[in-house]
């Protein structure tokens, strides 16, 4: 005869409501874990999609994701001729605001040369950029559809392709445009001083400037040796693909990761305290029944089992509700909520441990209930 289940059946509505409450609390904690993982995935989404073995950037900088980097566009030919480099492409990156069909959008504009490294790895709809000007490939997160128009300043771009999951480390969706178009965008948005100088008759500033050169390497190419070779060049430096990823995760999103991680730990601690209080209250509500059980000779294991099983069921059902809740709403979050089997399993273990620890206090209290309490009124 399972007393824990019988007691739950007796007050099923109350128990389920409690599970739902605990589930909402766990849902917040689980979302934080998902946002934490999503932050890392989003930070690396662009670099992983580009699949670059080598990043060539301005000397003294740590690449276009960490700080400003401007290098001449013709560096791409120098990089392409390095032994071990299969292909190289120029890249510009900048955050911009654009007017879309549904309003103003904040996006990460990536300029690249079609046919060279730097473009989207996978399209979910439409086609990649061709030779025509003012075309764009946008991520689905922008809400744009094929054929939609996007205004950058006075330039009108037409969306010809869509990607999924391509976002910058700040969470802005990526819009790919041709390199010439992106360079024009940067030139037009140049400081007023440059425009005044041009109006005064100075020769136009060179616009063949890019933020980075990305190179794909042949299998077996020595990335470290190539990086060293580029670092010897004046005004340039290089990072390998793993170095770029490491830089992104350790430097660019590190504070956000620590913030989210600490908040998750605090949330789990608060959840533990609340679960402990709920289990304690559930146990205290049964003090007279526990005293009766003791008086009629129930062993401690029966009483401890009653509390422990209810605590684990509360945690289990609450967690199931939390998973269902997070999975049903996670697509509506502005940033990715990344939850895989590993995260869900680890969190289930953490919740089980919390419920186990939380029930210990209640078990201790239940075992101290005096059988005399069953006697009298």
């Amino acid at each position: 005869m399972n007393l824990a289940l019988a007691d739950i059946r007796h007050g099923l509505g109350r128990f389920l409501l409690t599970c739902l409450g605990v589930g909402l609390l766990m849902g917040v904690a689980l979302s934080m874990v998902g946002i934490y993982q999503g932050l890392v995935r989003e930070a690396l989404a662009l670099t992983r999609s580009l699949d670059a073995g080598l990043w060539v950037v301005e000397a003294g900088t740590r690449g276009p994701f960490a700080e400003a980097s401007r290098i001449p566009g013709d560096v791409r030919e120098m990089v392409a001729r390095l032994p071990g480099v299969a292909a190289a492409g120029s890249l510009t990156l900048r955050t911009a605001e654009a007017d879309g069909p549904t309003g103003r959008l904040r996006v990460q504009v990536v300029g690249y040369e079609p046919g060279r490294p730097g473009g989207p790895a996978l399209l979910t709809q439409g086609r990649g950029l061709g030779s025509a000007r003012f075309e764009a490939v946008a991520d689905a997160r922008t809400g744009l559809t094929l054929g939609a128009t996007l205004m950058f300043g006075t330039d009108r771009y037409r969306v010809v392709g869509l990607t999924r999951g391509m976002v910058a480390s700040g969470g802005d969706p990526v819009v790919f445009v041709g390199l010439r178009d992106s360079q024009r965008m940067q030139f037009r948005l140049a400081p007023a001083a440059a425009r005044r100088a041009e109006a005064a008759g100075a020769p136009p500033a060179g616009t063949d400037t890019v933020n980075a050169i990305v190179a794909q390497l042949y299998p077996g190419a020595d990335a470290a040796a190539l990086t060293e070779a580029v670092r010897r060049w004046k005004h340039l430096t290089a990072l390998s693909g793993p170095e770029q990823e490491d830089l992104l995760t350790r430097s660019v999103v590190q504070r956000a990761r620590i913030q989210l991680g600490m908040f998750t730990v605090v949330l789990l601690f608060v959840s533990g305290v609340i679960i402990a209080l709920i289990i304690y209250t559930m146990t205290m509500d049964k003090r007279r029944e526990i005293a009766t059980l003791k008086l009629i000779g129930a062993p401690d294991s029966t009483i401890a089992g009653l509390v422990l099983q209810q605590a684990m069921l509360l945690g289990g059902l609450g967690y199931a509700a939390a998973v269902a809740l997070v999975f049903s709403v996670r697509d509506h979050f502005p940033r990715a909520v990344e939850l895989g089997v590993a995260e869900i399993s680890v969190m289930a273990g953490v919740i089980a441990a919390i419920c186990l620890l939380a029930s210990l206090l209640s078990i201790r209290t239940a075992l101290r209930v005096d059988a005399q309490q069953a006697l009298g009124g």
Partner: protein, 235 residues
């Protein structure tokens, strides 16, 4: 022919709460023997020591001095002689409470069966015996009802069935008729008398309920922690 061994035997039992000047003597030199088949009432004003005495016999309170034997076995003599007191309660003692104390989350049958499963009986066998006991107490048609759905009399009969579940030799009852009307109180007491006779059990009942005084074989009166009178019925 020698007298049967008492099922409950208290010898010079004393109980003192607290120490020094604040000490309260709840029981003093209480000697009492209850034999098989006897139904004994314990009465006395509030604070006379009835509940303390019942708690000591139920092995849920340690006496300060004296000796306690249950079912021929010395349980207390300066310290508990029986290691597993809960097992003793489970197998030798049946309890009946003032407010029946049925577990609210089990139906009547399972409340009775629980006592037997705790003693190691299989669930199906326990349920079968529970039904038989409920039948004996004429409450079997309410076997699947939850305690909240039972009348006071029905609930008390289910509680008696639970107390009898493991064939205890000793039945302790704390104000079992306090919540019942006169007629039902008499029915319950007649039932306890029948159980005592048929099973040769010792039944000790703490009561203030004068309308059932005539249902006891003996009435023990306590005052200020001492036995003031121990009268046999008709004496």
């Amino acid at each position: 022919m020698s007298a049967p061994t008492p099922l409950v035997l208290l010898e010079s039992v004393a109980m003192v709460f607290g120490q020094g000047e604040t000490a309260v003597r709840a029981l003093s030199d209480v000697t009492l023997a209850v034999g098989p088949g006897e139904v004994v009432g314990l009465r006395g004003p509030s604070g006379s020591g009835k509940s303390t005495l019942l708690n000591i016999i139920a092995c849920i309170q340690e006496p300060s001095a004296g000796r306690l034997s249950l079912d021929g076995q010395t349980v207390w003599e300066g310290r508990y002689r029986v290691a597993d007191l809960r097992r003793l309660r489970r197998e030798r003692i049946g309890f009946i409470f003032q407010f029946h104390n049925l577990l609210p989350f089990l139906n009547a049958r399972d409340n009775v069966a629980l006592a037997m499963t705790l003693a190691g009986m299989g669930l199906e066998a326990a349920r079968g015996r529970a039904m038989a006991l409920l039948g004996e107490l004429q409450v079997d048609r309410r076997a699947l009802a939850m305690p909240a759905r039972l009348s006071g009399g029905e609930a008390q009969r289910v509680a008696i069935a639970r107390a009898l579940a493991n064939d205890p030799h000793i039945i302790l009852a704390d104000e079992p008729t306090a919540a019942l009307d006169s007629e039902r109180a008499r029915v319950v007491m007649d039932l306890l008398r029948r159980v005592a006779r048929e099973r040769s059990s010792a039944v000790l009942v703490v009561t203030h309920d004068e309308k059932i005084f005539d249902r006891f074989d003996r009435m023990v009166s306590l005052r200020d922690g001492r036995i003031e009178a121990d009268q046999r019925a008709g004496a």
